[in-house]
Every structure is written in C-alpha cells, then in structure tokens.
Amino acid sequence: MVGVTVVVFGISFGFLAVTAGISPTEAVVMSLMVNNGAGQFAAVAAIAGGASLMTSAVAGVAVIGRLFPLGIVAGPTITGGPVRRALAAHLVTDPGIALGMGPDGRVDQRQLLITGAVVLVPWIGGTAIGAWGGGRVVDPGRWGLDAAYPAMFLALLAPQLRSDAPTRAATITGAAVAAVTLPVLPSGMPIVVSAAGAAAGAWIVRARAAKEEDDNQVVGQ
C-alpha cells in the first residue's frame, strides 16, 4: 500500500516538475539523489510559483531539515563501519522510520533500510512516468490540477497534523504569515518568512513543558 501511494506521488512530482520547467531527466535524477518527496515538492512548487532559484532552494532545504532529527533517531540502530553508515544514511526516509519504529521508540535497522530501499524504486519510477508521460500539455486549471500542490502538502503533513499540536500551530502560523505577506513582499519572500511559523510550534512545546512543571509543583505540595 505504501508502494502505491509512493508511485502516485512520484507521478505527480514528475508531472509537476516538468510543468515547472524542469527536464524529465533532471526530475528523475533529483528523485534518486534527494529521496525526499516533501522537500522536492517544496522546491519545485516554489519554482512553479515564480520564486528565484535561491529561494526555491531555501524552501526545499527548510523542509528537508527534518532529515537531521530523523537521522538521529535512526543513528543508534545502524551498525557497521563508516562506509556502511554512509551508504545507509541515504536510505533514511519518513516511511522507513515510521514502519521501523517499535513501541519503545527504537527503530529496527532492517525494517528501516529495506523500507528506504523499497520506497526509492516506486519514487523514481513514478517520477519517470510523470515526467515523461505527462508531456502532453494539459491545462492544469481546467482539471483542478493546480489544487494538487496544496493538497499534496496537506496530505504529507496529515498524520503529524492530526496527532501533534505544535505541528498544527507551526503549519497554520506558517500559512498565515505567507498569506499575509504575499501581497506585500517581493516574489519568493513569503516562503522564507513562513519559516517563522516554526517558532509557534516551538513555543507551544515550551508552554506545555512549563505547564507540566507547574502542575507537578502543585501536586508535589
């Protein structure tokens, strides 16, 4: 089931990348080398929206920033020497972590790596299909396809949005900041300032921690 979802997302990415002016070969290589749908979509969406190369890269980098904490979660479980670690690192993915995580929060190495490798194939394949197959010029507006971008981002965030209040806060704040600054700031800047939404998420985490401390103190008395 994960494979099917990945293929469909891959096809969408390939299609939208080509629409944004990226060549099919570039898109496929990107999927192979970056191996992170959310980040790739972010960068390509920014390009399609008219942002400069620099801003699009920043948008992509901001989204793939979460690979660092993902790597940290995966780290303890990866065995072997530096070469093996270096190779395995490329396979750290969202589904890999999700499927590999046990009830104690530890990640099973085999599950992580196998999922990572398995997911890469439909991702590249889907990108190829979308990039080369979607060459036919389709008017995105008529078929509602321009709603595909935001829907895709929403879908990628959905599991976290449902379960995690700081994530909700960060997403909504980021959206609000971008929407408000859109008519005011030059092209591409709204995306950069939307990063400020991260502060909202972090603030909620801190406020909660503080509240817990307060509660504990009251109980302690």
């Binding site: 980040g39 790597g71 829907a151």
Partner: protein
C-alpha cells in the same frame, strides 16, 4: 539548468543532514534543546506557507478561487482520517467541479 542546480543543492544538503544525524545519533540521545525544537517545526511551517501560497496566491497577489474550495474539501478528508490519496483526489475533483459550476 535550474533542475540540476536545485538537485545538486537538495541532494547534498539532504545527504549531509541524514549522515550528520546518523553519526550524531550514534553518540547521543536527542535532547529537548530549543534548536532541535525549532528544526522539527521548520518543515511544517514552510509547508504551511507553501500550502497558503499555492492555494490563494497568484502572480504576487491574493486570489481566492476554486482552489480554496478544493483545499477545504481536502481538510475535511484529512479530518475524516481517509487515506492520503483521497485528500488529493477530492481536492482536485472539488476544484474542477467548482470551476465547472462557474466558481
């Protein structure tokens, strides 16, 4: 040209972050440091911004159109805990429908 440049940047950064994470993870447990918190919510914040821009943005101004209807339908689908693909299909379908009806 743009594609290769973006690929180069994203691929290098992605790989370095993954590798750095794996190396660091083998040594310490991730503490609840403020910097780590910010990093965790940077992605969702930027994705939120992109959602907003691709829904109500158009050539540098705010334009409320059928896309918003599609996205709201997508939000409903998310709340209903339907599969991810359904979110996209519903959003696209509703947007097309609203446009068809003259929205």
């Amino acid at each position: 040209m743009t594609g290769w440049a973006i690929t180069g940047v994203l691929a290098s950064v992605a790989y370095l972050l993954r590798l750095a994470g794996v190396v660091v993870g083998r040594r310490i447990e991730l503490g609840d440091v403020p910097a780590a918190r910010l990093l965790r919510y940077l992605g969702p914040a930027v994705l939120g911004g992109l959602i907003a821009i691709s829904t109500v943005g158009s050539a540098g101004t705010l334009v409320v159109d059928a896309r918003l209807a599609g996205l709201l339908a997508g939000v409903v689908v998310v709340l209903l805990r339907a599969p991810i693909l359904a979110v996209v299909f519903v959003a696209v379908g509703v947007t097309a429908l609203v446009r068809l009806l003259g929205g």
